[in-house]
C-alpha cells in the first residue's frame, strides 16, 4: 500500500513536471494575423521547417485583403484574436481594445536577456503607462531598433528629386536651394522642350491623390530645415526658432506650417512655375497609375516625393536602360531671401526611428505567450538572425575573409517574391523583433545585418552610368547629395503621434489644403495674395486646434525620453 502510494506520488510529480519539461518539444500551431497583404509560404519552406524542428512551432497565417480598419473592427467585435497579432498601421485600435497582453510580464533582464538588451536603449520611447499608471509594452517594434552607426547609402524618404540628365546637362552643379532648383528646370526645358521621341517634358509633377497628397502639402517643413514631422513644424535648434520667429523659451514649439508666411513663398514659387509652363494642370487630377506612367516614361524632370513612393517607376526606367532619366534626391532649402536672410541648414535625413507600436503583439486569447517570448529570445541570437536575414550559408550566401557575400544570382533571389515564399520566413520575421544596422559582436562583427545594406553588395551592384555620375561629383554614394542624418529629436518623428482626439479638425485641416493649394498654384498671379489670405483665414480654426493638440503631444513624447 505504501509502495503504491509512493509510486502514485512519484507519478504525479513526474506528470506535473513533464509538461514544463517537454514544452519545447510539444508541437503547436500559432495562428498569425498580419495587417498587410501577403502570400502564404510554400509547404516545404526551408526556414519554417527549421523553426518547426527547433521550436516545434508551425504557423497558420492570415494576411489582410480589404480594409484594415474594418477588419480589425470586426475582429474586436467578435473577439476573434489570433496568437500573434499585427494590427499594421492601425495597431492602436487593437491596443485600445485591450486585445494584446503586456509583454513586460514576460520580458526582464534575467529571463530574456537578449530581448531586454534589444529594447533597453529605446525603452523610454517604447514603454508606456496604461490607464492605471503601470508600465506596459504591447509590441516590440518590427523595425528601427538598429545597432551601430546609422546606415545611409541613399535617400529612401522625402526629398526634391531631379533627373540625372538635367544635372549632367548643366555640368553637375550643386543644387541646394529652391530657386536654384526651379531655375535649372526652367533652363533645361527651354533648351530641351521635348525628349528624343518628341514628347514634351514636364518640369515638375505634384501628385495629389488621396493619402499621397504629402507630395503637395509636406515640402515646406523640409525647405525650413527639418526632417519629416508630418504636418507640423517643430522648433528644435536655435535656427528653427530664428527662421520661424518663435520664442526660444518655449521648448519644442510646435506649429502647423502650411498657414505661415514662410509657406507662402513655396506656393508662390509653384504658381510662378505653373505660369512658366513647368507644371501642368493635369497634375492635380492625376491618379497614382498615371503619375507612375509619367515618371516611367522619363518625361518628368522633377518632383517632391518619397523615394519608395515611385520605386516601381525607377525600376521601369532601369529596365528600359534609361539611367539618365532616373533621379537624384536633393535636400533643398529656402533661399535666404525668403527667410530674412537666414542660411538654412538642410536636414532631410533623420536618426533612425523605432517603429513604435508596429509589429507583432501577443493576443489575450493566446495560450502560448510564454513559449512565443522564449522563442523570440532564442531567435535574437546571432545564429538565428543570420538565418532570417541572410539565409543558409552555402545556399543563399557565402563567406569570404569574414565578410558576408552574395553572388549576383543569390542577391537577385532575395528580391524574387516567388523564391522568397519557399526560402524566407517573411510572414513571420517581418513583424517579429529583429536586429538591424551593424553586427556588433561575434564572428561576423562589422557586417551589415541586411544584405541590402552590406557595402560590398550595394556598391558592387551599381551600374556604370551611376558610378560615372557619382564620380563626376566626387561622391561615393547617393546619400552624399544631402547632409548626414541628424540625431533623432526626443519626441521622435511627429507623424507617428496619434491624433485621433482631433480627428475631425485634422480631416478638415487636410481637406482645405487639398482643395485650396491647387487653386493657389493655378490662380492668376495678381490674385495670389488675396487668395492666400483667404486660405489662411479659412484654415485657421482647424490649424490652431490641430497645432495645440500636437504641441501637447510633442511635449509629452519628449518628456518620456528626457525624463523631466
Amino acid at each position: 500500500m505504501k509502495k503504491l502510494l509512493c509510486l502514485m506520488l512519484m507519478l504525479a510529480m513526474v506528470l506535473s513536471i513533464a509538461p514544463a519539461f517537454a514544452e519545447g518539444a510539444e508541437p503547436i500551431t500559432l495562428t498569425v494575423f498580419r495587417g498587410d497583404p501577403g502570400d502564404q509560404p510554400t509547404e516545404d519552406n526551408k526556414i519554417y521547417k527549421l523553426i518547426e524542428e527547433k521550436f516545434g512551432v508551425t504557423f497558420k497565417f492570415e494576411f489582410l485583403a480589404g480594409d484594415l480598419n474594418e477588419k480589425l473592427g470586426l475582429m474586436i467585435a467578435g473577439e476573434d484574436y489570433p496568437d500573434l497579432f499585427d494590427g499594421g498601421n492601425s495597431a492602436d485600435l487593437i491596443i485600445n481594445a485591450g486585445a494584446l497582453i503586456n509583454l513586460l510580464d514576460y520580458i526582464n533582464p534575467d529571463d530574456t536577456p537578449r530581448l531586454w538588451e534589444h529594447i533597453e536603449p529605446q525603452k523610454a520611447r517604447l514603454i508606456e503607462k496604461d490607464a492605471n499608471g503601470n508600465d506596459v509594452l504591447y509590441i516590440i517594434p518590427n523595425y528601427g531598433l538598429a545597432d551601430g552607426d546609422q546606415i545611409a547609402n541613399s535617400v529612401g524618404g522625402p526629398a526634391f528629386f531631379i533627373q540625372k540628365q538635367v544635372l549632367a546637362w548643366a555640368d553637375y552643379p550643386e543644387i541646394k536651394t529652391l530657386n536654384e532648383y526651379f531655375d535649372l528646370l526652367e533652363e533645361f526645358i527651354l533648351d530641351n522642350p521635348t525628349n528624343a521621341d518628341g514628347t514634351p517634358y514636364t518640369g515638375f509633377a505634384i501628385l495629389c491623390e488621396d493619402w499621397r497628397h504629402f507630395c503637395l502639402i509636406n515640402p515646406v517643413q523640409h525647405l525650413m530645415g527639418r526632417p519629416n514631422d508630418g504636418e507640423v513644424y517643430i522648433c528644435v535648434t536655435e535656427q528653427n526658432y530664428e527662421v520661424t520667429g518663435n520664442d526660444p523659451s518655449e521648448p519644442f514649439k510646435t506649429e502647423t506650417f502650411i498657414d505661415k508666411p514662410y509657406a507662402k513663398a513655396y506656393y508662390e514659387k509653384l504658381n510662378e512655375a505653373f505660369h512658366n509652363g513647368l507644371i501642368s494642370q493635369d497634375t492635380f487630377v492625376m491618379n497614382y497609375d498615371q503619375y507612375i506612367a509619367a515618371i516611367s516614361s522619363g518625361t518628368v524632370l522633377g518632383m517632391f516625393d518619397q523615394a519608395w513612393d515611385f520605386g516601381t517607376a525607377t525600376s521601369a526606367l532601369i529596365d528600359a536602360g534609361m539611367d539618365e532619366n532616373t533621379y537624384v534626391a536633393l535636400g533643398l532649402v529656402y533661399d535666404p531671401e525668403y527667410v530674412n536672410g537666414v542660411e538654412i541648414e538642410e536636414h532631410y535625413l533623420n536618426g533612425s526611428v523605432p517603429n513604435v507600436r508596429r509589429g507583432f503583439g501577443i493576443s489575450v486569447k493566446s495560450e502560448y505567450a510564454e513559449r512565443i517570448v522564449a522563442m523570440w529570445e532564442e531567435m535574437l541570437s546571432n545564429e538565428w538572425q543570420l538565418i532570417f536575414n541572410w539565409g543558409i550559408e552555402g545556399e543563399d550566401y557565402y563567406v569570404e575573409n569574414g565578410r558576408l557575400m552574395m553572388t549576383a544570382e543569390q542577391y537577385a533571389n532575395t528580391n524574387d517574391a516567388n523564391w522568397k515564399l519557399a526560402n524566407k520566413a517573411e510572414g513571420f520575421f517581418q513583424s517579429s523583433p529583429k536586429k538591424q544596422g551593424w553586427i556588433m559582436d561575434g564572428e561576423f562583427e562589422g557586417n551589415a545585418w541586411e544584405p541590402g545594406n552590406q557595402p560590398e553588395i550595394v556598391l558592387g551592384l551599381m551600374n556604370e552610368y551611376d558610378q560615372a555620375f557619382l564620380s563626376a561629383y566626387g561622391y561615393s554614394k547617393f546619400a552624399d547629395f544631402v547632409n548626414p542624418p541628424i540625431e533623432l529629436a526626443p519626441y521622435g518623428e511627429a507623424w507617428q503621434i496619434d491624433y485621433t482626439p482631433v480627428d475631425v479638425d485634422h480631416t478638415k485641416f487636410l481637406q482645405i489644403q487639398d482643395q485650396r493649394l491647387p487653386e493657389l498654384i493655378t490662380c492668376d498671379p495678381a490674385e495670389f495674395d488675396a487668395k492666400w489670405d483667404a486660405f489662411v483665414e479659412e484654415i485657421a480654426p482647424y490649424a490652431t486646434a490641430f497645432a495645440d493638440y500636437m504641441q501637447e503631444a510633442v511635449l509629452a513624447e519628449a518628456a518620456k525620453v528626457l525624463g523631466e
Partner: protein
C-alpha cells in the same frame, strides 16, 4: 393591345369568404412555399437590426451593443452638421448624392431600354447574341480599371479632346477631370458605358414574355416598325419598367462609392463627394472608429429610402400601374 396591364388587377381566384383561418388552412401549400423564407429573412435581415441601437451610442466594439454609452441623438446632430462636424458639408454631399443618382437613374434606364429594343429588333440571331455578349462585358471590369481608362480618355491629351478638337468644336482642350460641374455627367456617362449591357438583360428577358401574336396582329393592322415598338414592345416591358423604377427611386441616396472615390480629385471635391464618402471620412480612423456615426447615416438613408419607396408605390397605384408592394 395592352395585355400585360389588363391582367394585373385580376385575381387568379376569388378570395374565400370563409374565416381567415379556414382560408389559411386552404393555402397551406402557399404557406409552405413562403413562410420558411419569411423566417429566414427575419433572422438574417431583421434580427441584426438591433445593431441600429449603435446610432444612439458612443459605440465601442469591445463592449458591444449592450454596454456602450448612450449619447442620445448626438450622432445624428453631428451627421447633419449641427455638432462636431463642419456645418456646411452635409448639404453639399447630400446634393451631390442626389444629383448623381438621378443622372444615373435617367441615363441608366433610358439607355438600357433603348439597347434592349434595338436588340429585340435584330433578326439575325448570331449577331443578336454577339452584340448582347459584347455589350455586357464591361460589367466585369473592376471600377479601378474603368476609371483609370476613363481618366486617360478624358485627360487634356486624351482621345475625347483629340476628337472634339479635330472636329473644330473647341480650340483649347476641355479640362474634363478638373471641372466640378462636369463631374456628375462624367460619372453618368461612365456608369452607362460600364453597365448598359448588363442592365439591358432584365428588359431583354422581359421582352421574351411578349406574345409574338401581338406583333403579327399589329403588322396586319398596318403598324410600322416604330408603331410596333410603341404599341407592343414598350407596353410589354412596362410592368418591369415600373417595378424597377419604384425600386430605384428608393435607392436615390445610393449614388455609389467607388467611382466617386476613384475619380475624385482636389479640384472637383465639392461635386464629387457623396454621403458615403463623407461618412467614411469622419467615421474611420486608425485608432478609433466612429461606428455610431456610420450607423446613424445608414438609418437616415433607410428612412429616406422607405419614404421614397412608398411614395413611388402609392403614385403607381394611383396611376393604375403595377406596384411593388
Amino acid at each position: 393591345m395592352n395585355a400585360a396591364a389588363q391582367k394585373t388587377d385580376k385575381g387568379l381566384m376569388p378570395i374565400s369568404k370563409k374565416g381567415l383561418l379556414r382560408t389559411l388552412a386552404g393555402q397551406w401549400q402557399l404557406m409552405l412555399m413562403s413562410v420558411p423564407v419569411l423566417l429566414y429573412v427575419l433572422l438574417f435581415n431583421y434580427f441584426p437590426m438591433r445593431g441600429w441601437i449603435a446610432a444612439f451610442q458612443d459605440f465601442n466594439p469591445r463592449i458591444g451593443f449592450s454596454g456602450s454609452k448612450f449619447i442620445g441623438l448626438k450622432n445624428f446632430i453631428d451627421l447633419f452638421g449641427f455638432g462636431e462636424l463642419p456645418p456646411d458639408e452635409f448639404l453639399i454631399v447630400f446634393r451631390n448624392t442626389l444629383a448623381m443618382s438621378l443622372i444615373n437613374l435617367v441615363f441608366g434606364t433610358v439607355s438600357s431600354i433603348l439597347l434592349a429594343i434595338l436588340l429585340n429588333e435584330l433578326r439575325i440571331k448570331w449577331f443578336k447574341r454577339t452584340v448582347q455578349t459584347v455589350t455586357y462585358l464591361p460589367h466585369f471590369l473592376s471600377m479601378v480599371i474603368v476609371v483609370s481608362m476613363a481618366q486617360n480618355i478624358f485627360s487634356t491629351e486624351g482621345a475625347v479632346n483629340d476628337f472634339i478638337m479635330s472636329l473644330g468644336l473647341v480650340k483649347e482642350p476641355v479640362f474634363w477631370l478638373g471641372e466640378g460641374k462636369l463631374f456628375w455627367w462624367l460619372v453618368g456617362v461612365i456608369n452607362v458605358w460600364k453597365e448598359v449591357g448588363w442592365s439591358a438583360i432584365i428588359y431583354i428577358s422581359a421582352m421574351t414574355s411578349i406574345d409574338p401574336c401581338l406583333y403579327e396582329a399589329a403588322s396586319i393592322d398596318g403598324a410600322g416598325r416604330f408603331a410596333r415598338i410603341l404599341h407592343v414592345t414598350l407596353p410589354g416591358i412596362k410592368s418591369t419598367f415600373v417595378i424597377l423604377l419604384i425600386m430605384n427611386i428608393g435607392h436615390l441616396l445610393e449614388a455609389g462609392f467607388d467611382i466617386q472615390y476613384l475619380m475624385g480629385n482636389p479640384l472637383v471635391r465639392d461635386y464629387s463627394r457623396t454621403i458615403d464618402i463623407y461618412v467614411l471620412n469622419y467615421s474611420v480612423g486608425a485608432a478609433k472608429q466612429n461606428y455610431g456615426l456610420a450607423i446613424a447615416a445608414g438609418m437616415f438613408k433607410s428612412v429616406v429610402a422607405i419614404i421614397l419607396l412608398f411614395t413611388a408605390n402609392f403614385i403607381a397605384r394611383r396611376l393604375n400601374e403595377n406596384t411593388l408592394v
